[in-house]
Symmetry: C2
Subunit: 220 residues, 2 copies
Amino acid sequence: MTNNPIVKGKLVCVALNDSDQFEAMQAEFSEAPYKSAPTQPVLYFKPHNTWSTEGAEVEWAVTEGQPAEEMVVGASLAVVFGKECCRVSPEEALDYVGGYTLVHDFSLPEKSYYRPDIKGKCLDGSAPIGGSVVPASDIADPQALTVVTKVNGEVVNEMPMTRSVRGVAELISTISYIMTLQPGEVIAVAFPGQRASVSKGDKVTSEIAGVVSLNNQLGQ
Amino acid sequence: MTNNPIVKGKLVCVALNDSDQFEAMQAEFSEAPYKSAPTQPVLYFKPHNTWSTEGAEVEWAVTEGQPAEEMVVGASLAVVFGKECCRVSPEEALDYVGGYTLVHDFSLPEKSYYRPDIKGKCLDGSAPIGGSVVPASDIADPQALTVVTKVNGEVVNEMPMTRSVRGVAELISTISYIMTLQPGEVIAVAFPGQRASVSKGDKVTSEIAGVVSLNNQLGQ
């Protein structure tokens, strides 16, 4: 198992934070059992066995003894906490960020947003984090950042933080009221709603131009 | 934050593994969106900030700036892995167990089994683990164990492993195909379906008779 030197303790991911996707799902939200859109951030964890690194090969998923038919990937801006963060306001939230990096979330395609898709989300090595941590002091406004993802050199996703339902400061504040974040813990704040389909051997590169890039390749 | 010397990496909890509860929920399972009972174990994580210890006081939950009206607790037999466990059969699964212990899962009451209740499940210090780890070699058959939970000395729950939908070996096998477990990682295998309501200051004690006990008290 690959150890990642950046993340410690926990990696929290925010789902449904792409406003384009959120709008497109209104009909689905209106169905049972909820009959309305979620009013709070929808969170999931990528546990310890998923953490991987810049440059790592990502194992092709095996489910029920067979190689998976399809995998998908999304990339997100991620905040790495620099100090303990518990019940902070949005106004002070960014003071707790030590730096910014990228997360690749490789998974099985999701069939539904209702039940926690542990099986699809917790594949070994499916959450590379990196390539580096850019000090928070170098980023004047995280909302101005855009994550661009390419598969084999072709752009498959662009996620400007201006398209997020909730911004970085609001998310840090809200999550810090749910659970304490420790130094080295990571929140991946905004994946594009449409994950990109990937095949065996594909090269996946995500980048915030001039800031940080993350490169991985799918195994065979 | 309390550090727990037993658990490392991740604490995986199995939901809906009480056959009494499972039977009682058949009508709910038949509703949208699933229209049938789950066919696989339903899992959730208690992350790093939740891990606590034997004897620790458990902070009374604060939600949306106010003390919670109610908290609940369930206790479970837990396996602590002794060696790396990846894609093992039920027949060999118990060979990977280093020892057995108890987990208290304190949370907000759950309104639904559909969406991952991160807010209610991830309260700081809400997962005491212990008091000790009993070596696996001392437990001939984990399915023969019963966890009894008392609140202020009164029995509120008894969960014999014979009442679980899935046994320890089957769960280890199934989960090991979803994610690799490392030494020191923990699976809480079977909570009683009916969590017990607790109040500020309550003393919660769970015990496997003659094997291990875990004692906590709610804060004010």
